[in-house]
């Protein structure tokens, strides 16, 4: 009889990419739950819409590229891109903003670069940055006022209707500037105490946001525990941000305090779910630390001295540019070698 011919190893551990991505989706659920509890139905609706559209666009492009559609759809990576956008976009962002973000993420940033594994840039962040610069008003005025779901937030139907109609004016009563935005613009003319009086901050650090960030942190720690991501990128990310804040931001009357940097905005989502996209991140442990730190530092720089209140997308994309460079200079030291072989073959390093 003919025996199976196979190159070693003959044993494999079954945790395919699809399962890895599924775990990412699961680990993001606490964050999504917190968002829904504190900011209403917007994020949930966005997540569902973005995932569906992401899968549809991926399928369409795979078909165009004559690739096996089901084989690639099953890897769940398009769903994760959709999820990340749904979690990041403003709660009342009109549907067409989300659609532009998702389609540009999947079609341009992922499939046109060659599909899964070939994209140099984080697809979700390409989509996000694109709509952020293209539709600045829609992207800054549609953040939900932190209101408990059980305490006066707009209902599911109202939220859905607002997103679907895209009528900006309808949502004015339910929206509010984000804490980072509020602080950034008020601190130039007010003292820290005055700024923090605004209801967006609430009793704690940043009403609602602190719980959302805590939930994403918990989900992120789960991913580390499951060995789906390593601690290096989040540690570099948060470390870079903390070091910058300690070095430059200790006067709360001038700059947002560290607590706000860590627990308001997209910090934890960015650190554990976005920056850790392996395809567009650095590879070695040392490289990952540098890559993460670069993102943390850039976020702080842009938030503090740039024009944008939050800057996860831009920082991630800028560091994506730097990945080949980082990879060249941070290979690990191989067993039996005195030092790592940096740089390129024949080059100096």
């Amino acid at each position: 009889m003919a025996f199976v011919q196979q190159s070693s190893p003959h044993a494999h551990k079954a945790r395919p990419t699809s399962r890895v991505m599924l775990w990412v989706l699961i680990a993001a659920l606490p964050g999504l739950l917190a968002q829904t509890l504190f900011f209403g139905w917007g994020n949930l609706i966005n997540v569902v819409f973005c995932i569906a559209l992401a899968i549809a666009s991926e399928a369409a492009l795979l078909k165009l590229r004559k690739k096996p559609v089901a084989f690639f759809i099953k890897d769940n990576t398009a769903a994760v891109t959709g999820l990340l956008l749904g979690l990041s976009l403003p709660q009342f962002a009109p549907w067409w903003v989300s659609a532009v973000a998702v389609i540009s993420a999947i079609v341009v940033a992922k499939q046109l670069y060659g599909g899964l594994g070939s994209n140099p840039f984080n697809p979700a962040m390409v989509g996000y940055a694109l709509v952020l610069v293209s539709f600045p008003v829609a992207m800054t005025t549609n953040w939900a006022e932190p209101a408990m779901l059980w305490d006066g937030a707009p209902g599911f139907g109202e939220t859905l209707a607002t997103i679907a109609s895209g009528h900006q004016t309808a949502v004015d009563g339910w929206t509010m500037a984000t804490p980072l935005d509020e602080y950034k613009h008020k601190i130039t003319t007010h003292t820290a105490t005055e700024v923090l009086n605004h209801p967006t901050f609430g009793e704690g650090i940043a009403r609602g946001w602190e719980w959302v960030n805590a939930a994403f942190l918990a989900g992120g720690l789960l991913l580390i525990a499951l060995r789906i991501i390593t601690w290096h990128i989040p540690a570099g990310f948060l470390g870079g941000m903390i070091v910058m804040s300690l070095a430059f931001g200790n006067n709360a009357d001038l700059y947002a305090p560290l607590s706000l940097h860590l627990l308001a905005g997209g910090t934890m989502l960015g650190a554990f779910f976005i920056a850790t996209d392996p395809v567009s991140a650095a590879t070695s442990h040392q490289g990952k630390l540098i890559y993460g730190a670069g993102i943390g530092i850039l976020i702080y720089l842009i938030r503090t001295w740039g024009n944008y209140p939050d800057a996860v997308a831009f920082s991630v994309l800028l560091m994506n540019f730097a990945v080949p460079f980082i990879d060249h200079y941070t290979p690990p030291r191989t067993y039996g070698h005195h030092k790592a072989r940096r740089g390129v073959p024949g080059g100096q390093g």
Partner: protein, 609 residues
């Protein structure tokens, strides 16, 4: 308590070792035919020293390596040499190689053995010779001849001798069972090797999943200084480099050998073989082989004669032929699949897995790499498997080499954890093979160029020497002429001037007479043709021949180079060479013809031009 270090990476695959440890070591019995490959280890193949039809005794040397690195092969039982021919041998390619086949006569009659009661009374080199003559090569990995390994370079003092009992690959239990049942032989072999090497430290490294073996060895080493180091179970702790790191904290330098850092690893089975060879005078004619997998009913370990076909072993273990989907020689991580169960057990065969389809299912189809880095986490050599994969796939071999491709030990940990089920190790093997082929090609081309340049230089030198000789001759002739003239002048000056005119006219007359005779000769069939006429012809022919030869040589050189570089003008050059060959032949014929004629006498007719 021995201090232990950790190695980076590593994985914890399911062990499946209990399948084959439930039964004690059994005797595999006598197969109908033994197939003994002449090459069973790295180095040079042995040459048969028996004839077909010859009767041999058990333990008799039947093949040996005359020159080069290698050890002899012995008859595992008494019987008749049936054939010396090509048979399928254990090799990933499924190739056939030269083997001696032996038909056992059932008598199992030993040859004369000479056990050594007290090896300490011998010279170390004598003991090494015994080990060599017993045909012992490493029984774990590539099968390096043990006597050579036990004699490291003089400047490499082995201070730590490690016996590798880690046996980290899933399924395999040959070393485990050997340690359990033959602990005394293991320790005896270790003692002999330690006596040869005189290390400061002797360690037996065993994974903590083998409590019975640990207990047995602890008992056997009681009262000695040999350490039993129980190492945490983690694949590939039994890799030579990893075990050295675990036990010494040191790393074997890239491209070096353990002896470079004063360490040597030996295999459990090798230790037993050494003990048997020295103390019993028994050559290496059998070994312990694990037969396991879900497709055999009675898995376990077998004391197996070298040369026993796998088929026979599977039969002994109660194989369910229909259930076997994959036959793996070695472990599931680094072993290779067999195309046929006809291949024999050789000195390095430690395990055969007869796996069902459910047990070792085909991997899912390869997906794109998402650079997740799980492979780098698992890599015990601290490589960047995903980068190596990208470069191998893009055939950017230079970059792969730069990222230390050749430090990869092909343990398979990266492929094992890859969520995209990319056969990473296969990509590395491909890249290594390509690079080696390129290097070989480059070497060949370099040699061809060197040869060509050396030849050019030689031709030039010869040309110059010829020129020089010609000049010397010309000078000598000129000097002689000058001398003659001077003498003539001298004579003239001495008063022979009167005769000068007469002499001159006589010379002219002579010349005229010669011319006349020549004219006659060209008309008449048998004139006395002056030999002076023949001589220049031979010279011209010789010159012609030499020219043709040198041209042929040039063309041949060019053809060799073209062939080495696989240039596209090979055919053209071949034609040119053939043409020049003809030309040389023609010139040779013409020359020999001319010489014959010359030898036959000047009376023969004129040579044709």
């Amino acid at each position: 308590m021995t201090q232990l270090w950790d190695f980076s990476g590593g994985i914890h695959p399911p062990e499946h070792k209990d399948i084959s440890t439930a039964r004690p070591i059994r005797d595999a019995g006598m197969p109908a035919q033994l197939v003994l490959p002449l090459q069973q280890h790295i180095g040079d193949p042995a040459e048969a020293i028996v004839e077909v039809g010859e009767r041999v005794l058990k333990g008799q040397k039947i093949a040996d390596v005359k020159t080069g690195m290698g050890v002899p092969v012995h008859a595992p039982t008494s019987g008749v040499i049936e054939s010396i021919a090509d048979f399928p041998v254990p090799h990933p390619s499924g190739m056939a190689d030269r083997c001696i086949t032996l038909k056992p006569d059932g008598e199992d009659q030993w040859c004369q053995r000479s056990p050594v009661a007290d090896y300490r009374s011998l010279e170390r080199d004598e003991v090494l010779q015994i080990i060599r003559d017993a045909g012992i090569s490493g029984m774990g990995g590539a099968g390096f001849p043990t006597n050579i390994k036990l004699r490291p370079p003089r400047d490499r003092k082995v201070s730590t001798l490690i016996l590798n009992g880690a046996e980290c690959e899933p399924y395999i239990t040959a070393d485990d069972m050997t340690m359990r049942e033959k602990a005394d032989e293991v320790v005896a072999g270790l003692k002999i090797m330690a006596w040869i090497l005189r290390p400061e430290r002797c360690v037996i490294g065993i994974e903590d999943n083998k409590p019975e073996a640990i207990a047995a060895l602890r008992k056997a080493t009681e009262g000695t200084q040999t350490e039993i180091a129980v190492v945490p179970t983690k694949y590939p702790s039994g890799g030579e480099k990893q075990l050295i790191q675990i036990l010494t904290g040191m790393e074997v330098p890239s491209g070096g050998i353990p002896a470079d850092i004063g360490v040597m690893c030996q295999n459990i089975g090798t230790a037993v073989a050494v003990a048997n060879a020295v103390l019993e005078g028994t050559p290496l004619i059998s070994r312990i082989v694990t037969i396991t997998g879900e497709a055999v009913r009675e898995p376990g370990n077998f004391e197996t004669l070298i040369g026993t076909p796998i088929e026979h072993l599977l039969g002994q273990a109660g194989v369910n032929q229909d259930a076997v989907s994959r036959l793996v020689l070695g472990g599931p991580m680094m072993g290779y699949t067999l195309t046929t169960e006809a291949v024999p057990v050789i000195k390095t065969t430690n395990c055969v897995i007869a796996a069902t389809a459910a047990e070792l299912p085909a991997p899912p189809p390869e997906q794109p790499c998402i650079r997740c880095g799980q492979c780098a986490e698992a890599c015990p050599m601290e490589l960047l498997p995903q980068q190596l994969f990208w470069h191998a796939k893009a055939t950017e071999f230079e970059k792969a080499e730069h990222l230390n491709l050749f430090d990869c030990i092909e343990c398979g940990a990266c492929s094992y954890v890859c969520p995209s089920s990319i056969p990473l190790v296969q990509y590395y093997r491909f890249a290594k093979g390509e690079i080696r082929a390129q290097q070989a090609e480059q070497l060949k081309a370099d040699r061809a160029r060197e040869r060509f340049e050396a030849r050019q230089a030689r031709l030039e030198r010869e040309q110059q020497e010829k020129e020089l000789r010609r000049k010397e001759r010309a000078q000598a002739a000129a000097e002689a002429a000058a001398k003659k003239q001077a003498e003539a002048e001298k004579a003239a000056a001495e008063g022979q001037a009167v005769d000068e005119r007469a002499a001159k006219s006589a010379l002219v007359e002579q010349a005229l007479a010669r011319k006349k005779a020549k004219a006659q000769a060209s008309q008449s069939p048998a004139p006395s043709a002056p030999p002076t006429e023949e001589k220049p012809d031979i010279e011209a022919l010789e010159k012609q021949l030499e020219q043709a030869r040198s041209k042929l040589e040039t063309m041949q050189g060019m053809l060799d180079d073209a062939k080495a570089q696989q240039a596209d003008n090979v055919e053209k050059l071949e034609r040119a060479v053939a043409k020049n060959h003809d030309r040389v032949q023609r010139a040779e014929e013409a020359l020999s013809e001319a010489r014959e004629k010359l030898a036959a006498g000047p009376t023969e007719s004129q040579t044709t031009h």
